[in-house]
């Protein structure tokens, strides 16, 4: 390999690794801000709670109630902490108890959460309805 080619190769290797390192450090420092949501436990641990935020967790079993019309109430849990959520609006097709959801809205002074948007998460498992789950993982996994 000629001297010129080796020089080009080395320069490329240096540039790419420097850029990778710089980007890696940037992403590491931003890791909390890049997440779409916080979990109820993370929210309780926050010192400064922002005015509006996204909260992610599972809809607790037997916690879903229709108050009247499209106004609903349910409990969001991450199995350690839980928060009662109120929402008025249409729910996505995947919304059900045990499902992972992300709610956007504001924490109230009484500790409940008023959501203006509800998004449903789904997991990476796909199977026909009659087949048992052979993936060795819970379907409710969504965290």
């Amino acid at each position: 390999m000629g001297k010129l080619r080796r020089h080009r190769l080395l320069m490329l290797a240096w540039l790419t690794s420097f850029l990778g390192l710089a980007l890696g450090m940037l992403l590491y420092s931003l890791r909390d801000n890049l997440s779409v949501y916080v979990t109820p436990s993370e929210l309780k641990a926050l010192k400064h709670v922002p005015k509006s935020l996204d909260l992610g967790g599972l809809v607790a079993q037997n916690s879903f109630f229709r108050l009247h019309g499209v106004q609903v109430r349910f409990v969001l849990t991450d199995f350690q902490q839980q928060i009662t959520v109120f929402y008025t609006g249409i729910l996505p097709a995947l919304f059900r108890e045990g499902q992972g959801v992300i709610v956007s809205g504001a924490l109230q002074n009484n500790g409940s959460f008023i959501a203006t948007r509800v998004l449903a998460k789904h997991d990476e498992n796909y199977r026909p309805p009659h087949l048992p789950n052979t993936n060795g993982k819970s379907n409710k996994e969504s965290q």
């Binding site: 080619r5 080009r8 190769l9 490329l12 540039l15 790419t16 850029l19 990778g20 980007l23 992403l27 890791r31 890049l34 997440s35 779409v36 949501y37 916080v38 979990t39 992610g56 729910l91 996505p92 097709a93 995947l94 919304f95 992300i102 948007r117 509800v118 998004l119 449903a120 998460k121 789904h122 997991d123 990476e124 498992n125 796909y126 199977r127 026909p128 309805p129 087949l131 052979t134 993936n135 060795g136 993982k137 379907n139 965290q143």
Partner: protein, 241 residues
Amino acid sequence: MWHRWISLLSPKGFLRGTKFWARVLGVLAILLMGYGLFAGLFLVLADYQQGDAFRIIYVHVPCAMLSMSLYFAMALMSFSTYVWRLKIADMLAANCAILGAVFAALALCTGAVWGKPMWGTWWVWDGRLTSELVLFFLYLGVIALRSAIADAFKASRACALLSILGIVNLPIIHFSVNWWHTLHQKSTLLGLHTPTMADSMLWPLLASMAGFCCFAAWWVIQNTRADILSQQQAIDKRGCA
């Protein structure tokens, strides 16, 4: 043996050597995509959770995969352009950029069409979606850079450099679903306990992905052939005049 491969590196040899294989790739693409997409739409049972909406996976995943593997191919070709100044590698890289941009856009659009009924939104600024959007803009950047520089030699070097540096985005896209809380689910095919998909659903998906790969290879090869031919035409015209 080696001689045949090395002859592909010259435009003339490329034109001769790829004629047959491009046709094979084209036929394979039609067969594999035909089976994969037909089975995905009409043979596979609906998903236990998402119902019929999950059938979008048979076009969404191949597009997303190709947007990333075309970038990798483009970076490899750019590397050869940068270090060895191979003209054929530069032409292949230019075509990879165009097709990659198209598939990145298709991955974003089909993802939105899937996200609306299932998640409840067309778009969310999460790690996976945002890094895929960055990939789309990287492709556009490479295409724009090439057309912005009139000198072909300078343009190929600048594009090669940008393509190689942009490769750091690929691991970010792949691992984004593990590094951050995202609305996008984790990897089905390349995750930890994989594949997390019933076999009857998996085979059409793999066929569809293989078919899309053949299509991409066919498209890049044929358009590179077309580039060589139109350059030849330009040379001939200059010769006549």
